[in-house]
């Protein structure tokens, strides 16, 4: 690995840089995790409090089965796609910020 220039080094090793680095990535991660958890932990609650609604038939499946057994997978793919895109953009921005 090439050694960074001294000036650049000071910024990289400064407390504010690390703080903003971690905070931005963590904020993104938590936002994505929250979306996921609301769906994941909400489904048992719906099953618990609205069993009749969740037993509605949708093309043979019960609604609850359709959501959990089929629709959940693409839902998670979308979250992970958005996360990757934003996370890589954040990293790019961090590098740019230091090069300026």
């Amino acid at each position: 690995m090439s050694s960074p220039t001294p000036n650049h080094d000071d910024v990289v090793h400064s407390e504010p840089f690390l703080r903003s680095l971690m905070r931005r990535q963590l904020a993104l991660s938590i936002a994505c995790a929250a979306t996921f958890l609301v769906a994941l932990l909400g489904l048992p609650l719906l099953n618990y409090f609205a069993p009749a609604f969740m037993a509605t038939r949708v093309a043979g499946f019960t609604l609850s089965w359709l959501i959990l057994g089929v629709l959940f997978f693409p839902f998670v793919w979308i979250i992970s796609y958005i996360f990757i895109k934003r996370s890589l953009r954040l990293e790019e921005a961090e590098v740019q910020q230091l090069r300026r």
Partner: protein, 610 residues
Amino acid sequence: MNLPLAFFGGVDPWIFTFSFITVAVTLWMGFRSAKSSKTASDFFVAGRSVSVGWNASAISGEYLSAASFMGVAGMVMSSGYDALWYPVCYACGYLFLLLFIAGPLRRFGAYTIPDFAEGRFDSPMFRKIAVCFVLFIGFFYTMPQMKGAGVTLAYIFPGLPYWVGVVLVGAVITLNVALGGMKGITLVQAVQYWIKLFAITVPVFVLMAVVGFYNGQIGANLAPGETAPAASAAQASAPSSTGIERKPLVAKAPADTAWIAPFGPLTTKAVNAAAAALPAEQRAAFLAEHQKPYSLVYTYSLIIALVCGTAGLPHILVRFYTNPDGVAAKKTTMWVMILIGVFYVFPPVFGVIGRNLMPELYSGVGAKGTDKVVLELPTLISAKYGVVGSILSGITCAGAFAAFMSTFSGLLVSMTGALAHDVYGRMLRPKSSSAERMVAFKLSAILIGGVAVTLGCFVEPLEINFMVGQAFAIAAASYFPLLFMSVWWRGMTMKGAATGMLTGGLCALGAAALTNLGTLALDKGPMGKIFASFAPLNGFWAEHPLLRILCEQPAIWSVPLAITLMIVVSKATAAQVPADIRMKMLVLHAPEKLGLKQEYIQDHQAGAGH
């Protein structure tokens, strides 16, 4: 192989051919790549040069175990809706790994998780604790794989004792790992993912085309509140209103309404057992009061165990070190989620069709029960299309072989890595040469393979998927809190991390052991006799159903416990936070382009007694 010839009498030639080809290809690829595995880095982290596509396939191949291939289908068949949480959380757990752990962990640049543990806290002591947990979780996870091997071989060769399959498959994989190390199995596992996907999708689509699609098959089961058409569907084998054929259910099978709806037989088992122990007149009131709330607790605990556990499985985590950098690690994780998600849609279909058309499996126990629905179901087509059924059954058998072989090889590599790299290379003989370490790797592989086979011989009565769930619960309460907290919280100290991980992990381990002992005591075979002294435990469970649930699925209390302990103890020992913590955090989180990256283990130094 010195199998008596008599066993070949009842063997289906197609099933034998396909399974044999899978094993032969695995061995051949292992031998071939053994030639290119030369350095210690090749053995431990595949030279850190695995591309995103290969690595995603390899991780998926390693992750989709016997539990996914056979266990999920069997469990959906026996328990219905509640079992769907397994495939969904197995796949979605990777999201946590992606969001919080994958990138930083790779950037730290270690070989194994114990390396990370030592490096992050500057503590050789902590490495020892982490090694123990790699082995604990690993062995817990190998047991169901071994059961998968035993069940499948006993299915292919009727009359073959269960243990022969365990020994045979264990020996083949151990040889493979000892020859090629991580680099050798990466290729094998990547190919095995595609074998598995092929082996699950082709039979599913052929079956659905013949006997009716997924939605129709589910539609044949009555949901709560629905009434059966005039001629009760459950009794007649004539086509029901949906046009789907059904065979009559056997006595042991759960009723339609309990099976299709949430909070069914899986999550209410403990409460039902407790109700059965009560006087008849109190049962209804007891069930009405406790059944649903308790099974909600069970469901949540299961979800936490599976999601957090996926993000804490050492044999999966070690694969992220084979990525070239942190960006590749993140991309790999996303592709893994897609590959795994596509796969997991299908095993439940087997379970659903199996319930409608092969209800006789409900009466079987252990290796002859619902766990073999994936292998058995394609033979249904034989009646109509002759040899096609045998070919399809051969394909699913090949998939099952690929499943337990790839997962077992991954586990073996991670446990062998822990033993050879962490115990031998770092603790016993830090000055050993690269060549000596490779010999150590090979010997460790044989040792661990032997132990895994021995353990595998004891677990026939336990359900495959259930055992895997317990391994996840242990990982969720030990490695997940450790990684999550030490990646994102600077204030963590070695003492805090160790206390939290040990307490959480050991509590989960103890709880899992208690439940298993009770189950083994009920077994009617030889295991029941060995564990008979634990039978009173089941009486205790019947009196305290909530305790039983919290023991069977400990994640709901053990994960928060581990995290709380980590915070409290770290705060109390705040003076011991590593002095260069800012640099460590920077290495974990800064993009590689900034030129900060320092491999914690320098590859070229590995041979020079680093």
